[in-house]
Symmetry: C2
Subunit: 416 residues, 2 copies
């Protein structure tokens, strides 16, 4: 009994030591980067090797690259979200549904909205995503809609339908069925492409002739999809124009109000629906935490850490990574998931006393959908168009679902 007691005490003591020493990793945000971090840790960590906590405002991860579909109403938003509990292993990852109120990196603490006690950590991974960047355009924040999350795109879908219903039920004012999309970057063009697909059915639903509806894409830069391959841009513009989209390039929006937008020069476009896709900036919590930022983003070091903090990793839209020419990579799901994957590996190296590896972005390609059956893109050095590009885009979405939850998730979400 003495022996037995003794060994039990020893065992317990060891367990306490082990528990005390178990590093605590807190991941903020279940976007592409946060999920990839957590999935990476979950796959490679042994039980009890670390305590991993994932904090997210919603119970689900959503596929930002697909949000233009539920926003236009061409696909249900269920296809664009995945319940977190469906893809994490609760024995390895603790999920806390809460909203981050503030980050105190000097105290190694995170304050949550619904918890009195702060969350402490040994390692913090910040993947809190982005917020719309309105570039100081008057009234945009108050009057425009944003393709931002499940709630906001459901709102856009409902708003468009509501205005169509209003057009029929009240005075037939043209602005009710005029949709302005501010910004013709990837999100803007993909959203317009979906709208084009949606219109015939939507018009039938509300007994409105299709030719009465106006879809206007407005871009301040001298071209649609600035920076993208000109041949592909031309293909996209020609296709969308044939479907009735009006493009206004070289045309900055000066103001957005309840009636629509006012362009530089004074021209007014009356529109009940204005969706702004013109840009994003990092989450405001990053700045508030005292990190040095550029447009709300942290210029991370080669290991994706915030300058001055060895225990804080910043990933996804909150981070800023530069290419060899010194220009920042645009925030995409592709770079975010690669960052998450790398941070997971480096965290494991840190825990196990190994050596971290620097992050290098490996650009596989770029694809932009133009509705359900058309797309453009570059894979490696090859340009792709039409149904080929459309298929690749679809396959890419499935691949992400597979990464998150294997074949079952692909089957459940990939074919909605």
């Amino acid at each position: 009994m003495g022996l037995c007691d003794n060994s039990l005490i020893k065992y317990k003591a060891l367990e306490v030591i082990r528990m005390e020493k178990k590093p605590k990793i807190v991941v903020l945000g279940a976007g592409y980067s946060g999920m990839m971090t957590v999935i990476g840790l979950q796959k490679q960590l042994q039980y009890n090797e670390a305590e991993v906590i994932l904090v997210n405002q919603h119970t689900y991860h959503y596929l930002t690259t697909k949000l233009h579909e539920p926003a236009a109403g061409t696909r249900h938003h269920e296809a664009a979200r995945v319940l977190i509990e469906d893809v994490i292993d609760p024995r390895k990852i603790t999920f806390i549904q809460d909203k981050v109120k503030g980050i105190r990196p000097k105290e190694r603490a995170v304050d949550l909205v619904n918890r009195e006690e702060p969350l402490t950590y040994d390692y913090l991974v910040i993947g809190l995503g982005s917020a719309p960047e309105t570039f100081g355009i008057r009234g945009l924040k108050e009057n425009a809609f944003f393709i931002r999350n499940i709630d906001s795109v459901r709102m856009i879908r409902e708003h468009i339908e509501y205005m169509f219903a209003k057009y029929r039920n009240e005075e037939q004012r043209d602005e009710y069925i005029t949709i302005v999309v501010g910004g013709a970057g990837f999100t803007g063009v993909e959203f317009v492409g979906e709208l084009v697909d949606r219109m015939p059915r939507l018009c039938r639903e509300f007994d409105i002739p299709r030719e009465k509806v106006r879809l206007i894409s407005i871009e301040a830069a001298p071209t649609v999809l600035p920076g993208f391959d000109p041949e592909l841009v031309q293909y996209a513009v020609e296709y969308l124009e044939k479907q009735g989209v009006e493009f206004r390039i070289n045309t900055p929006i000066e103001q957005c109000d309840e009636d629509g937008v006012i362009l530089k020069g004074g021209e007014e476009i009356k529109a009940a629906t204005v969706v702004w896709t013109g840009g994003v900036r990092g989450n405001h919590l990053i700045e508030e935490a005292g990190f040095e930022t550029m447009r709300g983003r942290v210029k991370v070091d080669e290991y994706l850490r915030a300058p001055g903090y060895e225990d804080v990793f910043v990933v996804g839209d909150c981070s800023l990574v530069f290419n060899d020419e010194g220009r920042p990579y645009p925030p995409t799901a592709q770079i975010a998931s690669q960052q998450g994957s790398k941070v997971a590996k480096n965290l494991i190296a840190l825990i196990r006393g190994g050596k971290m590896q620097p992050f290098r972005f490996d650009l596989k390609g770029t694809l932009a959908s133009l509705g359900r059956h058309n797309a453009i893109g570059i894979i490696g050095k090859r340009k792709v168009f039409g149904s080929t590009a459309s298929f690749l885009k679809w396959a890419n979405d499935l691949r992400w679902l597979y990464t998150l939850g294997g074949v079952p998730l692909v089957l459940r979400k990939g074919f909605i």
Copy 2:
């Protein structure tokens, strides 16, 4: 050749005489009464016996008795409408899609919005339906929705969904997901019954817990379904209360504004959606035409003619028919279709030199649905509840579709 010419001239002359003498019947409105008139004429008239013109604002007839379903969003509005061209024989009935601007019975002329020349007639059938009666309640007309036609119920459906989206995307204000139904007569109760059916799916769609949503039925009279069998009323109230409906009887609404309703006594209920089902009155065109009216309705003679006019029949919600105790029958689809049927017969009698028959309403029964799988009603002298009543209500809708367009229409519209 002489003979031939001669007979041709005779024939042509006879045709002209026949054409000149062909009486012109104009039917205004394609509701239950108007459609029944036209269908009756179409079935019994020979070609060339009369010129029949049907005027209607929309290209379709809609089933007012089913409008509470698309209003709540439990069934698509296509199930509640029938294209006029699908059920009329264009060789016998000429359909004009236009809106009536005014009726000049002394000049036998009807002015339409999109036609310069007035439409003249030998016989006029007015079935222009009803308008909401707001009993002078302040702000109701401006701020409430009405279960009135396809456009208005599509608007209600979209408005409810829009407010649910707003609740998720903006501040979570309870009034966004509070629905007030003013009036607990047949339409009000049937609408509340549908809302109850809709809520679980709607709440899932917008990630809102069902218990957060309030459905409030407000009635000025001391009981729900005033004048109806008390046992059936109790059944309905108990069922709906169990589904979470709050009833406020004996409670007149004093005012409706952007924030909701103010009840007599001053209590305010904040609600983003207020639907008024408290009553209807005849179409304002009736009063404007100079007919003598009671709450916008014409007290018709025994042949359903407007007093003082032998060539003007008034049917449906525009007409007022009294029972043997001197009380007016409530406006229903049942009485409207019986009136239409009788007017068709009497018009044929007039054309053929026969004798008209007086109208007598034959009340077959009354049924009110409580959602998709429950209902209450009286058939003859028998009370019916639950699935039996629900089945009878369904069968009755099918019967109307059959009357309009036979088996093909039943198959096309009855199972949406």
